[in-house]
């Protein structure tokens, strides 16, 4: 019998999806991506906006007079010539380093750019490749629209949040400078200057994020993020240290070297070049995603963990096997930073020691840290790296939590393993992972110090402070995961890290001593100088061990989630 395919008599009529759900929620891929990225956005915009606000308050308080500002101008003289450009175009910043705009550019400009670009790298390497690896992208791709549109919606969502974060940055810079800054000392930052700075940060993030997206169909999530992050850090160091020869021509930091908008110097054409290259990378990424097989990479991948470290002999070894790649990644990253920092510490300390007049300035900037000593500089780096160590710990918590959130815990707990043992084993593994990361960081500090002919004993031991802080964050995460829910354990641990960092950063210049006391990192002493504060050490150990035990107790009492 012949059959005839026909259209339905009439198409089903559904209520239109509200626009607000298409923009945020489950009304579109764009809306869902925005929704999924809200925590990252809050952290990024909060840090950028918060730092901008704090800078306005802090600079006007620490350097209230013209004389104090002139001392800041002299800061440049203390930096070795070979390193002058690491933190911006010193020549163009010039005497304006004593203004709020110049100071922010010099001290935080590159950090803002690198941090934001790193967010983009992680977001854009993971938005398609990560979802493809998890398998959820198959469902999305089976929806009645093309892969190109899926990629475009996901990329657009990230760019929207990136742009919003930049608006926060620009508005807060202008607001802070005009409300808290001293106009007579040149602190006011116009909206054009703030926008110029935010655009520079935005386009650099666009470029390196776009590179990650373009590589992700070929290298997968980890590979593309690794290469893009390496390119981001490598080109910055090449430009800052003036190394790399002809390769310098490939550095977007070199192209935009003369764009210093916060001191009123603009160079728009190179910025446009960075933007164009970023868009090209994004287009390549979208096209590759549209044309290649879903989730199939080119076969390049990071080396696998050796079987001996995978740990199949018991729950602690198994949990450590899961943590090891993260511990190595964080440890090697921190170790490399440690090599760079510690190798420069001697030079910086000598420069400052030979210019006692600058010491007062630095004491105001970094109260309590003796930057005329090598250990003092290393201590400063340690203070800056507490946040990295804290985030590393949050990722260890996240890995442990995935046993429950991914559904493995069902199978594990059907064996003769008590719930408390699962928590304690996971906690022990996370602490060992923290120790491994700390050892690698200490090795980097030691190696860098040794290469500069410096004594490295105290500094290497001092790295344990970062490990102790990270261990405490592990404790916080395990307590939350065990007592309440593992799906929020890492997020709450990360929020604890951000809150601690901001407290430690904001409270001292504002003389909010009571508030500063709440920051765990305020009680660690100066371990890089061999001066330990037992309060902080004990607190970290108690929080680490107590948190894990509390988590074990809580886990024994609550339902296992699915």
């Amino acid at each position: 019998m012949a059959t005839r395919a026909t259209s339905p008599d009439r198409a089903a009529v559904f209520a239109p999806i509200p626009l607000r759900h298409k923009l945020y929620g489950f009304g579109s891929i764009y809306g869902k991506t925005i929704r999924d990225s809200r925590l990252a956005f809050i952290i990024a915009a909060g840090l950028l906006g918060g730092m901008s606000l704090v800078m306005g308050v802090a600079v006007s308080n620490i350097f209230p007079t013209e004389a104090a500002r002139q001392e800041v101008d002299a800061l440049f003289g203390s930096i070795p010539p070979s390193m002058m450009n690491l933190f911006g175009n010193v020549e163009l910043i010039g005497s304006k380093v004593g203004t709020l705009g110049g100071y922010v550019t010099f001290k935080y400009g590159v950090i803002f750019a690198l941090g934001t670009a790193l967010w983009s790298v992680f977001a854009l390497s993971g938005t398609l490749a990560g979802e493809a690896q998890r398998g959820s992208l198959d469902f999305v791709a089976a929806a009645p629209f093309g892969k190109r549109r899926i990629a475009l919606e996901k990329v657009s969502a990230h760019l929207t949040l990136l742009a919003l974060a930049m608006v926060v940055l620009a508005v807060m810079l202008t607001f802070s400078s005009n409300v808290f800054g001293q106009a007579a000392l040149g602190d006011s930052i116009s909206l054009l200057s703030s926008a110029g700075f935010a655009l520079w940060v935005f386009f650099l993030a666009l470029l390196f994020g776009g590179l990650a997206l373009a590589l992700s169909p070929l290298l997968g999530r980890a590979g593309s993020a690794g290469v893009a992050a390496l390119a981001m850090a490598g080109t910055w160091l090449m430009t800052g240290l003036g190394v790399g020869g002809p390769l310098l021509a490939l550095s977007p930091y070199s192209w935009t070297f003369d764009h210093v908008p916060l001191v009123g110097t603009y160079d728009w054409p190179p910025l446009a070049l960075v933007a164009i290259l970023g868009i090209v990378f994004l287009a390549i990424g979208v096209e590759l995603f549209a044309r290649r097989d879903l989730g199939v990479t080119a076969g390049f991948s990071l080396p696998a963990t050796p079987a001996v470290f995978l740990g199949v002999h018991g729950p602690t070894a198994r949990a450590f096997g899961e943590q090891l790649p993260r511990a190595l990644a964080w440890g090697i990253g921190l170790g490399l930073i440690g090599i760079l920092y510690s190798s420069l510490s001697g030079v910086l300390a000598d420069q400052l020691g030979s210019a006692p007049s600058f010491q007062g300035v630095f004491e105001a900037l970094f109260p309590g840290i003796d930057l005329a000593s090598v250990g003092g500089w290393l201590q400063l780096y340690a203070e800056l790296l507490y946040i990295a160590a804290g985030f590393a710990a949050a990722t260890f918590v996240s890995r442990w939590a995935s046993d429950e959130t991914d559904g493995r815990l069902e199978v594990l707990l059907a064996t003769p393993m008590a719930r408390a043992r699962w928590v304690v084993a996971g906690g022990a593994a996370a602490l060992v992972a923290t120790a491994a990361m700390t050892v690698l960081f200490a090795a980097g500090i030691g190696l860098g110090s040794a290469s500069g002919g410096l004594d490295f004993g105290d500094a290497m031991l001092g790295c344990a402070a970062l490990g102790l802080y990270a261990a405490a964050i592990v404790g916080v995460g395990f307590a939350v995961g065990g007592l309440w829910r593992t799906s929020l354990a890492a997020e709450i641990a990360a929020l604890f890290v951000v809150a601690t960092y901001l407290l430690d950063l904001v409270a001292p210049p504002l003389n909010l001593d009571a508030l500063h006391e709440l920051a765990l990192t305020a009680h660690m002493g100066q371990p890089m100088l061999g001066q330990w504060d037992p309060t902080g050490v004990v607190a970290c150990l108690v929080i680490a061990v107590g948190g894990i035990l509390l988590g074990a107790w809580g886990m024994s009492r609550r339902d296992v989630a699915r």
Partner: protein, 300 residues
């Protein structure tokens, strides 16, 4: 006979969401118990409560005579569990998974483990993330079986398995039962329960609505009879017959549902001029679906 599983008014609620309500059930040693119900009926909630993965809101679950919340580790030592949905370690191979879970149990009989791998036709050298859905299921099955548990809790065990492996799986189950194991098999597929179970329980909306043997379920079967008359339809002559219900007339056609023997209907029909007589016995599957649907059924 010793009860391996005893549920006493077992209730689990998730806040405002229904879980399971007042489940009373016993499974004897060496028995294969089929636990049937549609998706979301409460099958998995029941199993997770047995294993103390979730705690009862009220009531009790005793496994091997031990209350599930009192000493879950002692229970787990004697149990093999296959969850309905699970994830394992992406970076471990199949054999590493088996080794790990064997270690967690203090070791297993390697020869038996190897025989299971061979019978399920599992390539244990591949990483878990590279396995197909069916092969992941095989790994989980070997994990559940390799320590020769006294009680097997299996939630949708044949999901993703091809027919040949399913056949092997049922053979292994029969061997386990022959060796003294007790099996609690949760499924929404009647045919797989029918092949193995001695008794079944049907759960619907969190409540146990039927408990009995497979034959009891078959007794629920009925005939759908359709008679086409040459003349007017004598509906009244059939309505009063024993076992007849749901009588409906459509032009010259009479339809009815006949429970039990069909003889009275045949004898009554013989008194009229018939153009057609169609009698259809619903499959057990359809009977089972009827239990899922609207019919109120008794427990016990």
């Amino acid at each position: 006979m010793t009860s391996i599983i005893q549920l006493q008014k077992l209730t689990k609620s998730y806040g405002s969401h229904r879980g399971i309500i007042d489940i009373d059930l016993e499974v004897a040693e060496g028995e294969v118990f089929g636990f049937l119900g549609p998706n979301g009926a409460g099958k998995t909630t029941t199993i997770r409560t047995l294993l103390d993965l979730i705690r009862p809101t009220s009531g009790k679950a005793l496994i091997f005579g031990i209350e599930s919340t009192a000493d879950p580790v002692a229970i787990h030592r004697r149990v093999g569990y296959l969850p309905g949905e699970f994830a394992l370690y992406d970076r471990l191979t199949g054999v590493q998974h088996l080794e790990y879970f064997a270690n967690l149990r203090g070791g297993v009989d390697k020869a038996y483990q190897a025989s299971l791998i061979e019978r399920f036709d599992l390539d244990p050298s591949r990483k878990f993330k590279e396995y197909s859905k069916g092969n992941k299921q095989k790994v989980a099955l070997v994990i559940a079986l390799q320590h020769r548990p006294e009680l097997l809790l299996l939630d949708e065990p044949t999901s993703g398995l091809d027919p040949l492996v399913q056949q092997t799986f049922f053979t292994v189950l029969h061997e386990s039962v022959a060796a003294g194991a007790t099996i609690f098999l949760s499924s929404h597929i009647l045919s797989e329960v029918e092949k193995t179970a001695h008794r079944v329980g049907i759960i619907r909306d969190g409540r146990l609505v039927k408990l009995g043997t497979i034959d009891d379920l078959r007794d629920l079967a009925h005939h759908q009879v359709e008679l086409r008359f040459a003349g007017e339809v004598p509906a009244a002559a059939f309505e009063a017959l024993p076992g007849v219900s749901e009588v409906a007339v459509d032009d010259h056609v009479l339809r009815m549902r006949v429970a039990g023997a069909i003889t009275p209907v045949v004898q009554a029909a013989a008194r009229y001029e018939l153009l057609d007589f169609v009698s259809r016995e619903p499959s057990l599957e359809e009977t089972f679906l009827a239990q899922y649907g609207h019919e109120a059924v008794e427990v016990g």
